[in-house]
Amino acid sequence: EAGVTQSPTHLIKTRGQQATLRCSPISGHTSVYWYQQALGLGLQFLLWYDEGEERNRGNFPPRFSGRQFPNYSSELNVNALELEDSALYLCASRTGTTGANVLTFGAGSRLTVL
């Protein structure tokens, strides 16, 4: 069974540009979560999508946005990039919305903002 896949693996942008990160969940998983892992800060919750809808978002500015497609894959967009957006962006998926929230993570997309 294929795991959670993310692309690109690495991305280098400059301040003010936009970045788009992509995630394919495990087959059969309908919920997708995005987390930011910045150095020294641990994993910070960004966004949660389920059945194509945004269900919850973390304490991040509106320039962080995303969507979930009918095939449950997801995209994270970061507009007007700032230096502090440099981080590993992790996508995770789970089956449905009941029971314990056990997430399976992808390997992440490392974004560097110069």
């Binding site: 994993l43 919750f45 314990a100 929230n101 056990v102 997430l103 992808g106 390997a107």
Partner: protein, 112 residues
């Protein structure tokens, strides 16, 4: 006060040592407690999962939850160099659909 506190270390131990990793939390509504392991340049992978208070054992790993003290622990017996990784505690409220709240992670190195 942060919801979940975890000493980021780093922690270095000799092979064969017993390792104790801990997290404290402030939200008494947390019911599900997890430990994830993250190797360098990889995403976190689920190691242990516990519901409410008590102990859970899986091979060399034991997870403990003390809800009265808002304290969780992960013990690694007979530690191996392959255990060298960052260990993150995570927890969530009952209901299951809420976000996981993570600790900052503890970087562990087991020296041969």
């Amino acid at each position: 006060q942060k919801e979940v506190e975890q000493d980021p270390g780093p922690l270095s131990v000799p092979e064969g040592a017993i390792v104790s990793l801990n997290c404290t939390y402030s939200n008494s509504a947390f019911q599900y407690f997890m430990w994830y392991r993250q190797y360098s340049r990889k995403g976190p992978e689920l190691l242990m999962y516990t519901y409410s208070s008590g102990n859970k054992e899986d091979g060399r790993f034991t997870a403990q939850v003390d809800k009265s003290s808002k304290y969780i622990s992960l013990f690694i017996r007979d530690s191996q160099p392959s255990d060298s990784a960052t260990y993150l505690c995570a927890m969530t409220t009952q209901g299951g659909s809420e976000k996981l709240v993570f600790g900052k992670g503890m970087k562990l190195t087991v020296n041969p």
